[in-house]
Amino acid sequence: MSAGLNMDYTAFIPEFMLVGLAALVVALDLFVPQFRKSWLPYVAASGLLVTAGVSCAWIDKQVDFARLVTVDDFTTYFRVFFMAIAAVVCLASGRLVEERLRHPGEYYALIIISTVGAIGMAAARELMTAYLSLELLSFSLYILVSFQKYEGRSNEAGIKYLLLGAFSSAWFLYGLSLLYGVAGSTYYDDIARALSEDTSAYDFALLMGLVLIVTGLGFKVAAVPFHMWTPDAYEGAPVAVTAYLSTTSKAAGFALLLRLFSSALDVVHDDWSWMIAGMAAATMLLGNLVALQQHNIKRLMAYSSIGQVGYMLMGIAGLSHDTASAIVLHLTGYMVTNLVVFVVIIAWYNMTGREEIADFRGMRERAPLLAAALAAALFSLAGLPLFAGFVTKFILFQAATEEGYFWLAGIGVVTSVISLYYYLQIMREAFVSAPEEGAEPLRVPYLMQGLTVALMLGVFYIGLYPQQLFEAIDEATRVLFV
């Protein structure tokens, strides 16, 4: 049965390590009562980082496992990337979990497990694997979103996210089934081979399948009009989870999109590029326009993330090696920046328990470091120079232009100006408005300070000297287009 299949399980060492780590965390939480709960985040984070280090062993290798997954530079890149994000989120959520949530062990375990799912999405070269990894990620997120279980908003967010998620994955599956029907296989390369023949006989089925797949993935990455869960889930979820939602789940979605559309569906590029293009336009506009109206910081970040998704979809629409690497570059820069913002939000929330934009007033006076980091990060999100946002966005748009999507680039630039407006509104609260009376300076934990500074360095690194990173990404995405 398994003749000629490489079943070399060593390729999964990092994933196994992660599962082990998850188990360890839970176990520590359960069976070692005298173990200081507050150490869990450090355990999880260090474990993740170690694993990330281990997975670097696969750089420039190309291991295929039963044609289901391959561990190549693309996978490796995202492995490291996801683990890093997870580590940051674990560290950032330490105090929050202690003070506001129960079951810390499961919390970290879920984050770690979901990372496995995310990696699977990036690595899969077969529909089932891709789908199941996606579900693994989603399930963990469903739980995490409703983790604040005595909090009505958390439940609401959970139920909405879960039901819509199930709904959308039904669509996705239906699309997969049609694709399977027309291609007769679930392997990306078979699909590509099948579709490269004359498809006129079953064009409609194929198109329907593509539409549904785009729908499903559009839901995952929160593209208009499949975005509607995003603001609610972001607002309802515990803020650390929001950070995780806005980073890993999106990034994983894009990893899957890139892998699937490049190695399986590239041959029918014209059949789906316009859908993505349309979605991109709608997403950029709606995300940034509605963000103008928000007053809750989490909700605002939700909409801003929707806008960012639009930019990256622009690249997917004109998918090519250049755009792919541009997307990943932007993705990276965006994720790092986003984490800065969320670390600041988390820290502020921990100290003040507030999450309205208006509650940021006087941050300059009360927590200068956070304020500075926030300002820099928001500038970066708005795409202003010295920070990551400018160069990554510029390269992304230029790449899209090179692929003939000048108009999308146009919309992108316009909307990023709109976004600047609401980012400046936040800065205004933080820097211009005076703190309310009797608000004395806050002592930001060293952990948070350290995180902020480290991430800021990342932002500046990408913004000021992206050469190596960009080369690495270029390498990583090359394997998609062989």
Binding site: D203, V214, F219, F226, M275, L289, V290, Q293
Partner: protein, 636 residues
């Protein structure tokens, strides 16, 4: 002659030194300014002498002035600007007049301005003024001329507004600057047109080009009109004359220097310089004459009714300037320059005398003065000399100069109306000069208190008066060739000044004209004596005879009011309109509008987010359906 450029430089040094150090200098450093001024006066005389010799060698007519210049900036093949000096007969006359009067005024001011809060500042600015005036005179190119032109304007403004805590002074300064500025716009445009046409700023070359018809006719006309506009503004010709009377807000020495002797005649000088250009433009001489004439007549009439002694003198200045322009219009440059020369003396004299009266009485309203003859033994006679010279009574300098102009007009190619009008103004002029004298120095003192503590001014003020008085009396005689030669003017004054290469012009007395003018002038004098003698009953009756005319004269024909209205209801109103437009239309509608559009778009967009899960699901379905329909649409 290569040292002509030093003449303006000395006062510049004075300006800089006083500006920086006057607070720490003894006597605020007036001695420094005066010394430098004197030096440059001497230098000017030397230059004049050299020139005379040079002409002697070259022979009149074949002699074209001496110029030398250095590069200011230069863009190879596109624009080269040289700054330099050009010295010829007209130049030296001006040099002499300017530096001489300036010197006297500075000395006079040591008395008049003593104890002034901004004594040092006054001297530094006066130095700057003299410097730029001298520069204006020696400039060999229009750019440098404009340079100086603007600077004298600036200084005049600063000095008019010297008593800057008087609102009226501030206003007058503003008015003077802006009014002349209007003319300067023309001048600059003219200069630039000439440059674009000829590619040079050098006056000589431009004139040559103009005479040889190298400049397109319409451009030439435009340029001529524009340049003349500059002259009109500076020399306060109608319709830009309104600033000069108000300029009397300034300290009297300033009025003497700037608004009588030097700056106001800059226009005359400019026109005289550029006359060849004007002459080749059809209708230009007529225009010049017409404006000059209007100014002369109007100012003569206004002068009749003014109460402020300085203002009366100011109107007489306008009168004289008009006369000079008429002369220029009829091509009598020599006559114009002669009148300028004489006018400088007697008008400065008049002003300084006024100054000493005001200094003595702290009053300048005629109907508060009177009967000062006894009180001011030096000032009064000097004033009278000046007044008679102004009126043009033989044998004072005014007479000869005026006569030359009349002759020029008769010989000029203009029709007789001009001549007749000019003659008509003569008695009026003498009339109001007499009126002034009578009301100020004779008759009953109208204000005892003022009369009490009136006294003769000190030496530093009275000596310049006497000196000027003497000159005002005799300056006219230079017209006699003998006198001219005696003074070193080769072939007499006119031969000397008459710089256009048509050979010297003799001085000839046209007896008819002379007699006529003498008669008219003395008629005016007699009439004046009769009218304002004693209680001046006839004057009151004249005023009562036609209150309308009287009011017209008194209010200067309401020209100022008209301008004021124009400024208020046009310029400033337009400004307000534009400002409003900018704020409400361009900004609040245009700019904010765009922003608000986006804002409301977001506002609408956010309501799609109803919070109800079924709607979200519906959105997904709709998305699917739309994409599907579009896709199938493509396929079929």
């Amino acid at each position: 002659m290569s040292d002509a450029w030093v003449i303006p430089l000395l006062p510049v040094a004075g300006f800089v030194l006083l500006l920086l150090f006057s607070p720490w200098l003894p006597r605020k450093g007036d001695w420094l300014a005066i010394g430098l001024m004197a030096a440059s006066f001497v230098l000017a005389c030397l230059v004049a002498a050299d020139l005379a010799d040079a002409i002697g060698e070259a022979g009149v007519g074949s002699f074209a002035g001496i110029s030398e210049s250095r590069e200011w900036f230069n863009v190879e093949g596109y624009i080269e600007i040289r700054m330099g000096t050009y010295v010829d007969q007209i130049t030296v006359v001006m040099l002499f007049v300017v530096s001489f009067i300036a010197l006297l005024v500075m000395i006079y001011s040591t008395g008049y301005m003593r104890g002034d809060r901004r004594y040092g500042w006054f001297y530094s600015i006066i130095s700057l003024f003299t410097a730029s005036m001298l520069t204006l005179v020696v400039a060999d190119n229009l750019l440098l001329l404009y340079f100086a032109w603007e600077l004298v304007g600036l200084c005049s403004m600063l000095l008019i507004g010297h008593y800057n805590d008087k609102q009226s002074a501030a206003e007058a300064a503003k008015k003077a600057f802006i009014t002349t500025r209007v003319g300067d716009v023309g001048l600059l445009i003219g200069i630039i047109i000439l440059f674009t046409q000829t590619g040079t700023f050098n006056i000589g070359e431009i004139l040559r080009a103009a005479e040889e018809g190298e400049i397109a006719r319409e451009w030439l006309t435009a340029a001529a009109v524009c340049v003349f506009a500059g002259a009109v503004g500076k020399s306060a010709q109608f319709p830009l004359h309104v600033w000069l009377p108000d300029a009397m807000e300034g300290p009297t020495p300033v009025s003497a220097l700037i608004h009588a002797a030097t700056m106001v005649v800059a226009g005359v000088y400019l026109v005289a310089r550029m006359l060849p250009l004007f002459e080749v433009v059809r209708g230009m001489p007529e225009l010049i004459t017409a404006l000059g004439l209007t100014t002369a007549v109007l100012s003569a009439l206004m002068g009749l009714a003014q109460r402020d002694i300085k203002r009366v003198v100011a109107y007489s200045t306008l009168n004289s300037l008009g006369l000079m322009f008429v002369a220029l219009g009829s091509g009598a440059v020599g006559a114009a320059m002669l009148y300028l020369f004489a006018h400088a003396f007697f008008k400065a004299l008049l002003f300084l005398a006024c100054g000493s009266v005001i200094h003595a009485t702290e009053e300048q309203e005629v109907d508060k003065l009177g009967g000062l003859w006894s009180k001011m033994p030096i000032t009064a006679p000097m004033f009278i000399v000046g007044a008679l010279a102004m009126a043009g009574l033989i044998p004072l300098s005014g007479f000869w100069a005026k006569d030359e102009i009349l002759v020029g007009i008769r010989h000029g190619h203009l029709n007789d109306i001009v001549a007749i009008t000019v003659f008509a103004t003569l008695p009026i002029t003498s009339l109001y000069m007499v009126r002034l004298v009578m009301l100020t120095f004779f008759g009953e003192p109208k204000d005892q208190h003022v009369h009490e503590h009136a006294h003769e001014s000190e030496a530093s003020m009275s000596w310049p008066l006497m000196l000027l008085g003497a000159l005002a009396a005799v300056a006219g005689f230079v017209v006699f060739e003998g006198v001219g030669e005696a003074l070193g003017f080769h072939s007499g004054w006119l031969g000397f000044v008459y710089n256009l290469a048509e050979g010297p012009e003799e001085f000839h007395v046209n007896w008819g004209i002379s007699i006529l003018s003498v008669v008219l002038v003395s008629a005016g004098l007699v009439a004046g004596l009769w009218i304002w003698a004693g209680k001046a009953e006839p004057a009151r009756r004249a005023a009562a005879f036609s209150p309308f005319l009287y009011r017209m004269f008194l209010n200067r024909f309401y020209i100022d009011e008209v301008y004021q209205a124009a400024v208020d209801y046009f310029v400033l109103a337009a400004g307000r309109v534009v400002a409003w437009f900018d704020r409400s239309i361009v900004n609040d509608t245009g700019v904010n509008g765009a922003g608000e559009t986006a804002w409301y778009a977001g506002w609408l967009g956010k309501f799609a987010q109803t919070g109800k899960l079924p709607n979200y699901a519906l959105a997904i379905v709709v998305g699917v359906i739309v994409m599907a329909i579009v896709a199938f649409g493509y396929r079929t």
